[in-house]
């Protein structure tokens, strides 16, 4: 081992002993520190997990969704539009979608009713999302009656329950047959809610969207990448806002760290005095104090980050859900999979350890340059 390394090892040894001598004081700081890391890390891990869910969902989404606007409001799309778009060069397939919302007074929630594009359930039956099924205690073969647009009862028997792995979208979903859908909402044949286009070559997506807009000026094409972008910007922005809001807490923590570092106890002061008297240099004391800060930081960081991971993974970040997720009545209880990525750890490090180091720098320097006789006499 080089002398330099050996020296650092001894300094660390000494620092750990010194920390252990003042357990109560350091524990208090550690707890507050870890708590702050915990809060910030929870926000980051949680929104990371949400972002991942959104990306997973949208990966399956069609390249282009076409909506029709009438007087600036979304309207039903006639089948003629569909035929026109299917003929565009570059479009692999065009399909009309049927979906809508149904407000259920009993649960006071909105259900999403939808006709699946591939293998829809036979007429008179439906497939329901897991949360909805749990709420009504529905099993296969049970019948649930909904009210149609003109007030009639519309009984549907459960053909199957959707798997829970797509809970974020499927929670309040009801899949029914096309004939049922049209009868239920009173939508005549030949009209769709919106259209979806599949485009074979990803580089042609923008061009195809432009053609859609040119041929059918009353529509608005929405590209999947745009949705992804909007979500990413939204999550980033929410995260950033939460961070800005939490900066007050960081500031309070910095004041605490400053105070803790500058308010040396008589005993500590004597210790520094003795160390200097027996030959320690100012730079040694400085190094020791910086090691102390580093050790506390690393420990608090790991503790806080771990706690945040558990908070997000096991408790679905129950403390921050309302701020970051938005709200809906029938929100699914979905298990989040937090991801640890280096980018996040760096960011978190900057937002926690950096302020701590900053706050303790000057006090540490002050205590290190003090004269031995002056401190011992006090």
């Amino acid at each position: 081992m080089t002398p330099w390394l050996q020296r650092q090892r001894h300094l660390i040894d000494f620092t750990v002993e010194a920390l252990a001598r003042r357990k109560g004081r350091n524990l208090a700081l550690l707890v507050v520190y870890a708590l702050m890391v915990f809060v910030l890390a929870s926000v980051l891990l949680f929104s990371q997990a949400l972002r991942r869910e959104a990306a997973l969902l949208l990966a399956q989404a069609p390249e282009i969704t076409v909506q029709r606007l009438v007087a600036g409001r979304m309207d039903l799309v006639p089948a003629a539009h569909l035929e026109r778009l299917a003929g565009l060069r570059g479009v692999a397939s065009a399909q009309g979608r049927l979906w809508g919302y149904y407000y259920d007074p009993a649960t006071q929630a909105n259900y999403t009713l939808m006709v699946p594009l591939t293998d829809p359930p036979p007429p008179g039956t439906m497939q329901v999302g897991p949360t909805l099924a749990r709420f009504w205690r529905l099993g296969v073969g049970d019948v649930l009656s909904l009210r149609t647009h003109d007030g009639r009862a519309f009984p549907l028997s459960v053909q199957g329950i959707l798997p829970t792995d797509s809970a974020l979208v499927a929670a309040d979903l009801v899949l029914i047959a096309e004939a049922d859908f049209r009868a239920f909402f009173g939508i005549p044949a030949g009209l769709y809610t919106d259209l979806v286009l599949k485009v074979r070559n990803p580089r042609e997506v923008a061009k195809v969207a432009q053609k859609v807009q040119r041929d059918l000026p009353d529509t608005r094409p929405i590209i999947r990448e745009e949705i992804l972008r909007t979500y990413a910007a939204l999550f980033d922005w929410r995260e950033g806002m939460v961070m800005v809001l939490l900066s007050g807490a960081v500031l309070a923590f910095m004041i605490l760290a400053w105070d803790k570092a500058s308010g040396l106890s008589a005993e500590e002061r004597r210790e520094i005095g003795v160390l200097k008297a027996i030959g320690w240099e100012t730079s040694d004391i400085l190094a020791m104090k910086l090691w102390e800060g580093l050790l506390v930081s690393v420990f608090a960081f790991l503790l806080g980050y771990l706690a945040a991971y558990v908070h997000v993974a096991a408790f679905s970040a129950s403390l921050f859900v309302p701020v970051l997720k938005g709200w809906s009545v029938l929100y699914p209880d979905f298990a989040l999979t937090p991801q640890v990525d280096p980018f996040q750890v760096f960011t978190l490090f900057f937002l926690t350890v950096f302020p701590y180091a900053l706050a303790t720098l000057v006090p540490v320097w002050r205590s290190a340059v003090a004269d031995p006789d002056a401190v011992m006499r006090q």
């Binding site: 922005w237 995260e239 280096p342 980018f343 900057f350 900053l358 720098l361 320097w365």
Partner: protein, 335 residues
């Protein structure tokens, strides 16, 4: 308007770094005028004590710049999906004229701070702190750099305008901005490779030579700086191609991604360290004549040169290995 935690962190870090170095420079001015080691006055004692604070501050800024550099690139990469046409960090940095200057200033601040710390280390070895005035004069150079960096970075972040869906229409047709250039064009692979291995060979040769003839040490420092630039050019023009095994993907930042096994770190970390140490080895040499440093400069320069040589050597071998291992054939493919 784009806002995310990493940007908050970067802005705070740069602001704090600027404040620290501005304070240090202001103190430096005070120090240069009043520094007198022979005096035992309270003023001199205060100055001496403050030098500990300043060196700690500069070390702190160096560490935060090094981490900030990584975070900055990572962040740019992460933001890429927000901009039409941006595939990775290059696209994001190209969203305005401030992106690349901010990055370059960050790199400059890093090297300036590392050079300062090397000088500081030498200075503390002499009993009379002979380089104090030089060091604090140097702070006047570093402080404007970091201030400029902070400004450019802030402008870069503020100028970001994403192409997101607005309530009225899909954004695509609202903006007629042309697609961002996401690629960096590079030199053709053949000449770039010759340039890279030539420069690195020259650098290694000068470094080895300087172990015998100290005068070559200046050449080595210059060659180190040159090797830094040449290596960056090489990464853009051929190393990246071999890593991605794709003849048109020139991005120097995607190397840092998990998809490519984080190979970039093994290029960039040695490169930055080797360059910093190499430049440092030359910067200490002019002070060999200072009386209180006699006999100290040469061993330190040797030490720095050796460490830097190992790193440059590793870099050269690693690059050669990347080229050899890659499935891509750019030059003289058989058949």
């Amino acid at each position: 308007m784009v806002l995310n935690p990493a940007m908050v962190a970067l802005v705070i870090a740069s602001l704090v770094g600027s404040l620290m170095l501005a304070y240090s420079a202001a103190f430096g001015w005070h120090l240069i005028r009043h520094w007198d080691l022979a005096s035992g006055s309270e003023l001199q004692l205060g100055l001496e004590r403050h030098t500990y604070l300043i060196s700690t501050l500069v070390a702190f800024v160096l560490a935060s710049e090094a981490l900030g550099l990584l975070l900055f690139v990572y962040n740019a990469d992460r933001l890429a999906p927000l901009f039409v046409g941006a595939m990775c960090a290059v696209g994001t940095l190209n969203t305005s004229a401030f992106g690349f200057p901010a990055l370059m200033l960050k790199i400059l601040v890093f090297f300036a701070a590392s050079t300062w710390l090397i000088l500081h280390r030498l200075d503390t070895r002499g009993w009379d702190y002979p380089l104090t005035r030089v060091k604090y004069g140097l702070l006047f150079l570093i402080a404007p750099l970091i201030l400029a960096e902070t400004w450019f970075q802030a402008r870069f972040f503020l100028a970001m305008d994403t192409d997101v869906i607005t309530s009225c229409c899909g954004s695509l047709f609202g903006s007629n901005r042309k697609a961002l250039g996401s690629e960096l064009a590079g030199l053709p692979a053949g000449p770039a490779m010759a340039l890279f291995f030539g420069t690195l060979g020259l650098t290694l040769g000068l470094g080895l030579g300087s172990l015998r003839r100290p005068l070559l040490g200046y050449g080595y420092a210059l060659a180190s700086a040159l090797a830094f630039v040449v290596t960056l050019v090489a990464i853009v023009s051929f190393v990246s191609l071999y890593v991605y095994e794709h003849p048109h993907h020139h991005c120097p930042f995607c190397l840092l991604k998990a998809e490519y096994g984080y190979q970039g770190y093994l290029l960039y970390v040695p490169l930055f360290l080797a360059t910093a140490l190499g430049i440092g080895s030359g910067v200490v040499r002019p002070f060999a004549g200072v009386q209180s440093l006699s006999g100290l400069v040469e061993p330190m320069a040797r030490h720095l040169t050796l460490a830097s040589l190992w790193l440059f050597g590793f870099l050269t071998l690693w690059t050669a290995l990347i080229v050899a291992r890659s499935g891509l054939v750019l030059i003289g493919g058989a058949g």
